[in-house]
Symmetry: C2
Amino acid sequence: MAVLFDKVAIIGIGHIGSSLARVIKRDGLAGRLVTLDSNSLHRAKALELGIVDAATDDVAEAVGDADLVVLATPVGTYADLAAAIAPHLKQGAIVSDVGSVKMAVLRDVGPHLPEGVSFVPGHPIAGTEHSGPTAGFAELFQGRWCILTPPGGTAQAAVDKVRAMWESAGSTVEIMEAAHHDRVLAITSHLPHLIAYTIVGTATDLETTLQQEVIKFSASGFRDFTRIAASDPVMWRDIFLNNREAVLEVLQRFTEDLTALQRAIRWGEGDKLEELFSRTRAIRRSIIDAKQA
Amino acid sequence: MAVLFDKVAIIGIGHIGSSLARVIKRDGLAGRLVTLDSNSLHRAKALELGIVDAATDDVAEAVGDADLVVLATPVGTYADLAAAIAPHLKQGAIVSDVGSVKMAVLRDVGPHLPEGVSFVPGHPIAGTEHSGPTAGFAELFQGRWCILTPPGGTAQAAVDKVRAMWESAGSTVEIMEAAHHDRVLAITSHLPHLIAYTIVGTATDLETTLQQEVIKFSASGFRDFTRIAASDPVMWRDIFLNNREAVLEVLQRFTEDLTALQRAIRWGEGDKLEELFSRTRAIRRSIIDAKQA
């Protein structure tokens, strides 16, 4: 792969940021790769791993002269970050991100960016429950989707360059409206995480002996939820706070459906249970067919 | 391993029944292994796979002379099955099962069994989302728990023999009160399945284009639920109908917790979200430490 950018700045060298850094290094996508991170341990680790050329907590040093700046911190930090980096962005620079919500990113980052800077928000649909620069790996994005939500009027050349970077990472890129992204992800990602956090939280409130048995016999279903519920707390706090409407709407649907199921159990309506349990099997097959299983 | 039983009858040669049959064959635990199954395709497949010595739909032929009879059909069939097999059980026979609920099994099977027959209900905490005799494999129970809930007064020799069979399968056996089993499993297994069925059901009710996108982007969390929600519909219908009180009680706790979380999102209470999301991480670590991850 040819060099796409003379200089790239990744803000936040955590799980996703460090995975992207590894891709950029592996494929030689940047002449120079710098990370801005307030955590000195993460900066030291990134340098030790050799996944960046420089690591700093100085905004001007990081984003000055950068052709691409990627925000990879929890989305709650974006507004302040955008205000801080804006004065140092060069003409023609591209600003992108990896956040799991996109309407709030347009709202928080967009207004700060000067004329002549392109904004290409992105969301790689990938990740594990682990955090920090050591948890990253270049293959994380391989075979996964990456959604870009450039606002109307964004320069096509900027979108193409960000697309090329994610394609080099092995992802398939999809362009989408930010509002639509947030609605789809509320269902496929945010609600599942909310439910998983809740059920694991319910278990943590049990008396100690029962809780130990829950851990012991977790392989019967519970375990799968704990993996999701081990995801980064601050990142997920910010996702729920910043996709509130879409999450609350889909949560309302879910609650109605759960109440109907609860009622069917209470009244012994086996046919209703079986009908639903048969219907859900088909979705699994579709996911296997779509090679996302 | 030495022969534990001269003749074993497995009733229902599905995912679990056929996996147990493979263990019994592999380890030479039975002089003769017969399956009773009303599905002629499953009988033919079991014979073709060589995992049983005989397959029949004749109750007397299957359970007559059997030293061990294992019920491995959905628990909703147990009452009728117990009534049908009871007249053919020999003195000294052991009746066991693999059902996911245990109070209902005591209720439905116990009263039918004649004097001189031992009853050792069991529940191997293992399984995949697949069904049928081809989906079974002998290693399914390796490293997993198997819970036995013998009623008071059950002959110790009978419990020991069933225990030896599951230990041969690679499981660790735990003896438990049936009521306690049902409460623990309501949390670790039944509620997670109910939630997974609900969330996947909610997704199936979306308009077609949105549903296709949910499938496309399912790797972001939703996918993990679809695996659970692809489990056998009849088996799970029977579980919910037969562990109603414990499931409804834990569902009530879950709903309260979800409502609190919903409120925190609506009112933007980030600290409450972060506190819960941090707490749930610890449970995951406990499961990894307990080698159940």
